[in-house]
């Protein structure tokens, strides 16, 4: 670009502006709350490690490429009497070609191995090692709210999820609305919530706290309202909370009030002291007409005899949970 001499004053002005802007932007970037990089549970922890490992591995080539780009563009720019050499017909080098086929291949091999390992280790349906028996929470994505059912306690809540700290939680996830994705960044990665099937996701919170949770897959008009709070509390407090919700017998979730709840609309947080037996599987398998067509696919699978019209068998319904 043009190289007109600038007066000192403009220069100073520019520098000051840049510095201010830089500080401002720095402030914005570095004071931000990077939930994904601040995990509070083993799953999120491993995923964060993996993110860091993969970033570093990629950087092994990416950073040199960036530097090389800057260097080459600078050095070989056309200018009168430059010193850099010019060889217009040099277009082939076995050594170089080998290097840049080889190095990325090596990195990708390493990355592939790491990825495969973690993929098996972090398989969402794999239980988390822990002394305690996991708590089960059934999650249903509704049109623009989240319903949480606690089958062991027979209580339920909307848009707020309470879990005991240090105890693995087994989420069973389904939907009575378009496909969503259930995501609590600080505890670990997401999984789709789909009508007609039930997904299993194990997470665990290692610290007491209030975490951000949200739907991650677009479900229509008020998708933006599909956020929920996750309260990880001491196990004793968890029990207290359960008793409190149970005690509040004024608010029960019935078939009728579920039907209302399932209607499209936005709402705040609520808790229910009880919910109808088998509600979750009724929701997850709402569209099943009969189980005939599944007879074939269930041979020898975990989902023995589980009728499901989509052909997607599922284990781990409240009622028929095979031992893990």
């Amino acid at each position: 670009m043009d190289k007109k001499p600038r007066s000192l004053r403009t220069l100073i002005a520019v520098v000051i502006t840049l510095v201010t802007l830089g500080v401002l932007i720095w402030g914005m970037f570095f004071t931000a709350d990077y939930l994904v990089l601040d995990p509070k549970g083993p799953v999120g922890e491993s995923q964060k490690d993996l993110i860091i490992i993969s970033t570093l591995l990629c950087c092994i080539v990416i950073v040199p490429v960036l530097i090389l780009t800057a260097f080459i563009v600078w050095r070989y720019r056309d200018k009168p009497n430059r010193k850099a050499s010019y060889s217009p017909n040099w277009h082939d080098s076995k050594v170089l070609e080998t290097v840049w086929w080889g190095v990325p291949i090596l990195i990708i091999i390493v990355l592939a191995v790491v990825t495969a390992r973690y993929t098996y280790a972090l398989e969402p349906s794999k239980p988390i090692d822990a002394e305690q028996k996991p708590v089960t929470v059934q999650v249903v994505s509704l049109d623009w709210k989240w319903l949480f059912l606690y089958p062991e306690e027979n209580i339920a809540s909307v848009n707020t999820l309470t879990i005991p700290k240090g105890v693995p939680v087994r989420f069973e996830i389904s939907a009575d609305s378009p496909m969503n994705s259930f995501w609590i960044p600080q505890l670990g990665g997401q999984i789709y919530a789909m009508s007609g099937m039930s997904m299993t996701l194990y997470l665990k919170a290692d610290e007491v706290g209030k975490y951000f949770g949200s739907g991650a897959n677009f479900t229509g008009e008020h998708f933006a309202q599909m956020r929920f709070d996750v309260n990880a509390v001491e196990p004793a407090d968890y029990q207290k909370w359960v008793d409190k919700v149970k005690g509040n017998t004024g608010s029960t979730l019935t078939e009728a009030s579920y039907a209302d709840l399932a209607k499209p609309g936005v709402m705040g947080q609520t808790e229910y002291s009880s919910f109808p037996e088998g509600l979750y599987s009724k929701i997850a398998y709402k569209y099943v007409v009969d189980g005939k067509q599944n007879s074939e696919s269930s041979e020898g699978t975990k989902n023995e005899g589980m009728p499901l019209n989509t052909g997607f068998g599922v284990n781990g319904l409240g009622e028929a949970q095979p031992a893990h």
Binding site: M197, K302, N303, F312, G313, N315
Partner: protein, 109 residues
């Protein structure tokens, strides 16, 4: 590439003879009857039947390609053959991949 414009393009058009067509026809009839007989009379176990009828279908494909569609007789770089091979690879990917992904999902969690 640049071939002179001679008038007769016979070189690549008059392929096939009555004989080859009749042969192809007979082969294709036979290859159709075999699976029909096997399936209608329950001659084999399920997997075996599946394998045999798929093989018959693929052979039938080759018969049609070679005897009727004259796959071998086109001019030198056989673009259509290359395309077809690639197409079949993608076909297998589409069908196989869908089955793989959707079946495993079926087992689910």
């Amino acid at each position: 590439m640049a071939q002179p414009n001679t008038h007769g393009h016979d070189a690549h058009e008059s392929h096939g003879s009555v004989k080859s067509y009749v042969l192809g026809f007979i082969l294709s009839i036979v290859l159709t009857i075999i699976p029909l007989v096997i399936v209608m009379n329950d001659l084999m176990a399920k997997t075996a039947t599946f394998i045999v009828i798929m093989i018959a279908a693929v052979l039938q494909l080759l018969v049609q390609l070679l005897f009727f569609m004259h796959l071998r007789e086109t001019e030198k770089p056989r673009w259509n053959v290359m395309g077809l091979v690639l197409g079949i690879i993608i076909l297998v990917t589409v069908v196989g991949g869908s089955i793989w992904i959707m079946e495993v999902n079926k087992i689910g969690y």
